[in-house]
């Protein structure tokens, strides 16, 4: 008998997973999920302070996708005629004008981020807020501390064969194209015309903190501007109560959020929900609308240090 076949047959009649063990294992996974999303003591204290901003977000959350064309004051008529692509170009110009706001991080440093999250449930308008502070090792060689919905996670350094993609390391990002067409190609990952992948990757670019080399952030917005199907969702207010305008892609949960007046990038919009798998798909209930505002970023030398 062929040796590989013999190995394949060895222990082939092993006992299958019992329902009991499956249930216990799923319960363990659920515990891990709940532990992660349960707000820690820190965010509970902060919740009071941020309640006001949260209320503002709640007021608009239900109507985010509905255009409020012409109904707003100060500059709204101008905004009403702005296309998603035009908005992105303005955002690109804005970030170019801002110039090098951040110092170039060394691989052994940390990116500090403070994110304000406001989540409003669609059904009853309940609002939850978190202020998350994270310290991410720039090249992944050091342990990182990540706060998610209030809970602190200590992430070990990347393993020998683990990488972050898109990269977080400045030296790697410096090799990325700053020409919007080339960058779009990169974000499509070689899949010709795969617009959804490109949009998803562009979102990723901002969801995970990184310091962009000059021109890359602007090029990202311009690359997104070239994606057919992007659209504007007006009337968004970010978690800090700033007037925002979102750029989204059909049937994708994450959207970019920009300041209505300055076109500065504010953060991300997320439409989500808690749910459970039914027939291999997630059946969502308890839908919510979440605004993740980039409140502060900086480069520091160690975990716990603030810029």
């Amino acid at each position: 008998m062929d040796d590989l076949t013999a190995v394949r047959e060895l222990e082939a009649d092993v006992a299958p997973l019992t329902d009991e063990a499956r249930f216990a294992a799923r319960a363990r996974l659920r515990r891990a999920v709940i532990q992660e999303s349960r707000p820690g003591a820190l965010s509970r204290r902060l919740m009071l302070r941020v309640a006001v901003a949260g209320t503002a977000a709640a007021a608009v959350a239900g109507g985010v996708v509905v255009a409020t064309r012409g109904e707003r004051d100060a500059g709204t008529p101008r905004m009403a005629t702005l296309s998603a692509a035009e908005l992105l170009h303005k955002a690109a110009a804005r970030t170019r004008a801002d110039g090098a706001g951040m110092p170039v991080p060394r691989g052994d440093q940390y990116l500090y981020t403070k994110t304000f999250i406001s989540r409003t449930y669609v059904k009853d308008g309940r609002t939850k807020t978190w202020t998350d502070e994270s310290w991410t090792s720039v090249d992944g060689s050091r342990p990182s501390r990540r706060q998610e919905y209030g809970k602190v996670h200590n992430d070990p350094p990347l393993g020998e064969h683990e990488v972050m993609w898109p990269p977080t390391e400045y030296t790697a990002l410096a090799k990325w194209p700053t020409d919007p067409d080339d960058l779009l190609e990169r974000l499509r990952m070689g899949q010709d015309g795969d617009d959804r992948t490109a949009f998803v990757n562009a979102i990723q670019f901002f969801a995970v903190p990184r310091v962009m080399p000059p021109g890359l952030e602007a090029a990202s917005f311009e690359a997104v501007a070239r994606i057919p199907g992007i659209r504007i969702d007006r009337g968004a207010v970010d978690a800090l109560g700033r007037q925002g305008i979102a750029v989204s892609y059909p049937e994708y949960d994450f959207a970019f959020l920009f300041d209505t007046k300055t076109y500065a990038y504010l953060g991300l919009n997320v439409d989500g929900g808690t749910g459970e798998p039914v027939d291999g798909r997630m059946k969502l209930h308890d839908r919510y609308h979440e605004l993740r505002a980039r409140q502060e970023t900086g480069v520091v030398d160690r975990v716990g240090q603030r810029p």
Partner: protein, 217 residues
Amino acid sequence: MKSTGDPCVGDRPAVARHDDVPSDASVVERSWAEPDAFELLFHRYADDIHRYVARRLGPEAADDLMAETFVVAFQQRRRYDLTRPHARPWLYGIVSNLVGQHRRAEARRLRALSRVAATGSGDGGEALADRVAARVSAERTRAELAGALAKLPARYRDVLLVIAWGDLDYAEAAEALGIPVGTVRSRLHRARTRLREALGGSDPTALHEETEETGRG
């Protein structure tokens, strides 16, 4: 860390296109904002991973390590390389690490398997119907195989078993174990050579040189 450049570009799409069933990568990505979504991966692969551990360490250990695999995977989901549409190799990488912490238990199990079968061959003293003889012969093969597996260096056994039992291809095995594809090929080749020697007994002395290695690499 290895270059974080873009070796994956042009390789595979990051997430499913808008098909009915979302890819593993898109499930992982979704779970970033909606941790509950991760349960989909559990539904897809719990049986698979459990069976793999059960074959390596036995059913009781499998109950525990399968559960642990998904908890670890969940906690590490932000490191998932979204350019990989299938999560199986990633999960096999995690479970291989966990199994690696139980090398002694695995060796004990394999030695027990080789002994059970070896005593089984003693039944041959009774009436030797052909059927019984065939069974005895199969059991002897099993015993020799288990014995040979026990003697394989751990790094060879990992490669051999994620391929033979985990049904990973070479590229997936490389991804799971974090080694180059060339190394997968050479380790598999060496593992199979040793198994053939053990089964065919062409050079029994060769086996004695292989004491079990606990190191990885």
